[in-house]
């Protein structure tokens, strides 16, 4: 009986979604001129008439223009997704960082042990040796990903996760390895604080929280896009520390 109701509810939901699909532009035919995204892509938010936009009267047509390798006043990341995540909608990202912070905090409150859990199994030779070689490379790769977040795909979150993977590998290969809670907590907290302080500096300098107060530079250069790389480095380190802490909590047990 339970299955029958479940099928009924799931089918009703799927029917609802499918009936909605007919109102969406069909797959691959999305029209960006009707959405805010065109302004993000052409980096012309400040030039838009917001009133006309809100009232749905604006002509959203954007002229074709050269962006890569040029100085763009408004926003300087080559990766437009990054420019949305860390600049146009940076406040969402602050919330996202907070969710991860909360999750790591929750896991440590729920599982929180102070001692490494022993499984009594020795990792084999191949795993041990290759971990020694791979861990620095993985950490470097993670750092590369978040430092170049404004130029290439990636960014703080995958970069930080990759760093956390290195610590997971260490936990798998070594029964004794144990990160101290104080060090990950300190890195996590200070990097989170850095993000908020960057935002508050924007509030002090430009009048808006998370205002981009640094020069944008040339699109495509490593040092460009104002606060974006700074924020992404902070996020990358924070996520790395946070998830390493989470992995630590999963591998720990209570004293006694």
């Amino acid at each position: 009986m339970r299955r029958f109701y479940a099928i009924l509810i799931a089918a009703a939901l799927v029917y609802m979604l499918i009936s909605f699909i007919s109102t969406v532009p069909s797959y691959g035919k999305a029209d960006l001129k009707e959405r805010v995204s065109d302004a993000f892509l052409s980096k012309s938010v400040n030039a838009q008439n917001a009133k006309a936009w809100l009232e749905g009267k604006a002509i959203h047509r954007q002229p074709a223009k050269e962006i890569y390798g040029k100085k763009v006043k408004e926003e300087g990341s080559a990766n437009v997704v990054t420019s949305i995540v860390v600049n146009y909608r940076s406040f969402d990202t602050l919330g996202e960082v907070t969710v991860l912070f909360t999750a790591a905090l929750g896991v440590s409150l729920i599982l929180g042990g102070s001692r490494r859990k022993q499984y009594g199994r020795e990792a084999n030779f191949v795993l041990k040796t290759s971990t020694g070689i791979l861990v620095p490379l993985i950490i470097m790769f993670g750092a590369y990903i978040f430092v170049h977040g404004h130029l290439t795909p990636g960014g703080g979150f995958p970069g930080g996760t990759i760093i956390a993977m290195a610590s997971l590998l260490l936990y798998l290969s070594d029964e004794k390895f144990f990160l101290s809670k104080a060090s990950t907590g300190a890195l996590e907290g200070s990097m989170g604080g850095t993000y908020v302080i960057i935002g508050l500096l924007g509030l002090a300098i430009g009048g808006y929280f998370l205002y981009n107060f640094l020069p944008n530079g040339v699109v495509g250069n490593l040092v460009s896009a104002g606060i974006v790389p700074l924020v992404y480095v902070a996020i990358g380190l924070k996520v790395g520390a946070e998830l390493s802490g989470l992995v630590t909590d999963l591998h720990s047990e209570k004293e006694g």
Binding site: L17, S22, V24, K51, N87, G106, G185, V196, G202, Y208
Partner: protein, 464 residues
């Protein structure tokens, strides 16, 4: 300025992660500072903060109008009061700081996706609070429902984006969304918010979470519940003016009846209060769904009374449940707590002399005027059942023979706060306008989507 309400608790929470022993002082500081900021903000209503300087509908904006101001005020005061109880808060201070930031963000934001992010933070922090005192299974139930609701909320948000072309609430409110699309969108939002707003049939988590420990009911039944019910009004009245309200009405009525009946058959004090909280949420939602200025105003008036009464009831009940094995006659030892408990439960039932009477009676009169008799009938039915179980509990706690002879020393702070709030309930009966005036403004602000849009437009035309 208003962004500080969200950011300061957050930065304090990050600092607390560096040095764990500072977390409780930081919690107290952040709640005190937040209450001060809220009081200072009174002069800048209405205003809009544009984050990062990216004007709406492109960036994210925070909207402070009469409605969101009132919700923020209540939420911050509640958190301030909760933060005073050091023993109860325990090692959960950092979680409470994050939750305070999330409640403020959820209420203030003018962006649909941003509200989804804050909703998820609320769920995550709520789960952690619920897991206190090894209440793991109930916390997990809440996590599953909350996460499912989050997914539906996200789907609804992205559906709105496909129709409107932005994620801004003012933009969505202005835009005429096609009939076929808005039905699906509003139903998904109903599911998404229904979990936090305790709407039937998504409220299976409530009794377990409220009844499982001594911290989560204090914040969840008051501040979080208020924020969720505020958001219901904001989305269904301001943004999607008038759609799906009849569905909300029917579900709310079922919620009332189901909640009261479950409370009647419940043998556990905390769970009884939890079910009663569900029923009160149903009353508020039913009144909101009428979408007239009078009824919406009364809805938030009733919600305020409920929040105050529930805060006192849970404050007293958690103390009793976790300190005594048997509750019979326990008020003979704690007369002040008992008085506060009785006053609050009388207010909940709606006896004359207490705040609940004002809101319930006014609601009934208003409904009779519009000759809708279904809601009054359900409301009276609910009152009768409430009378039964609350009087039963009061009798049990006051007059039955004491079985647990031990006596815990009188909790002075708890008694003071609960008796002050209980007296406030009497005060509201005598001068209902101290609450009714602000809630009338809330109702005006929620129903007047034109001025909401104009506020946001004004902020996008330069100036702060």
């Amino acid at each position: 300025m208003m962004v500080l309400l969200i950011v300061l608790p957050l930065i304090f929470a990050f600092l607390a992660a560096i040095k764990k022993s500072f977390s409780y002082p930081l919690l107290v500081t952040s709640t005190v500072v937040n209450v001060i900021i809220v009081l200072l903000l009174k002069t800048s209503v209405p205003s809009v903060h544009v984050l990062g300087g990216w004007k709406p509908p492109f960036g994210i904006n925070l909207v402070l109008d009469d409605a969101s101001y009132y919700a923020v005020l209540i939420a911050n005061i509640v958190f301030f009061l909760v933060a005073l109880f050091k023993e109860t808060v325990g090692k959960y201070s950092t979680v409470l700081m994050v939750m305070l930031a999330a409640v403020n963000g959820f209420v203030l934001t003018g962006d649909l996706f941003n509200s989804f992010v804050f909703l998820e933070i609320l769920t995550a922090t709520g789960v952690i609070l619920a897991s206190k005192r090894e209440n793991y299974y109930n916390a997990f139930k809440y996590l599953v429902l909350g996460s499912l609701a989050g997914s539906m909320y996200l789907l609804a948000t992205i559906f709105t984006y496909t129709q409107v072309g932005s994620l801004n609430m003012a933009h969505a409110s202005y835009f005429a969304i096609s009939e076929k699309a808005i039905v699906v969108i509003t139903i998904l939002y109903l599911v998404g918010l229904g979990v936090e707003a305790k709407l039937f049939p998504l409220n299976g988590w409530v009794s377990g979470v409220y009844g499982g420990n001594d911290l989560s009911p204090l914040v969840m039944a008051t501040a979080v519940s208020f924020a969720a019910l505020y958001m219901m009004g904001r989305l269904f009245l301001t943004v999607f003016g008038g759609y799906a309200l009849h569905i909300l009405y029917v579900l709310a009525l079922i919620t009332i009846v189901a909640g009261e009946l479950a409370a009647l058959y419940q043998k556990n004090l905390l769970k009884t209060l939890a079910y009663s909280s569900i029923a009160q949420a149903g009353i508020v939602l039913a009144a909101i769904s009428k979408s007239t200025e009078k009824m919406v105003s009364l809805a938030y008036f009733h919600l305020t009374n409920d929040v105050i009464a529930k805060f006192v009831l849970f404050l007293v009940a958690t103390f009793l449940v976790y300190n005594y094995k048997n509750l019979n006659g326990v008020f003979k030892k704690h007369k002040v707590l008992g008085t506060a408990f009785t006053i609050s439960s009388m207010s909940l039932i709606g006896f004359p002399l207490f705040a609940g009477f004002q809101s319930k009676l006014r609601m009934l009169m208003e409904m009779f005027k519009t000759s809708d008799y279904l809601f009054p009938a359900v409301l009276l039915f609910a009152t009768v059942i409430e009378l039964t179980y609350l009087v039963r509990w009061n009798v049990k706690l006051w007059f039955e023979d004491i079985e647990d002879e031990s006596e815990v020393k009188g909790p002075a702070l708890r008694a003071t706060i609960s008796i002050i709030l209980a007296i406030l309930l009497v005060g509201i009966f005598l001068a209902p306008n101290i609450i009714l005036n602000p809630t009338t403004k809330v109702a005006k602000a929620l129903l007047d989507s034109t001025s909401y849009i104009n506020n946001v437009i004004a902020s996008s035309m330069g100036g702060m």
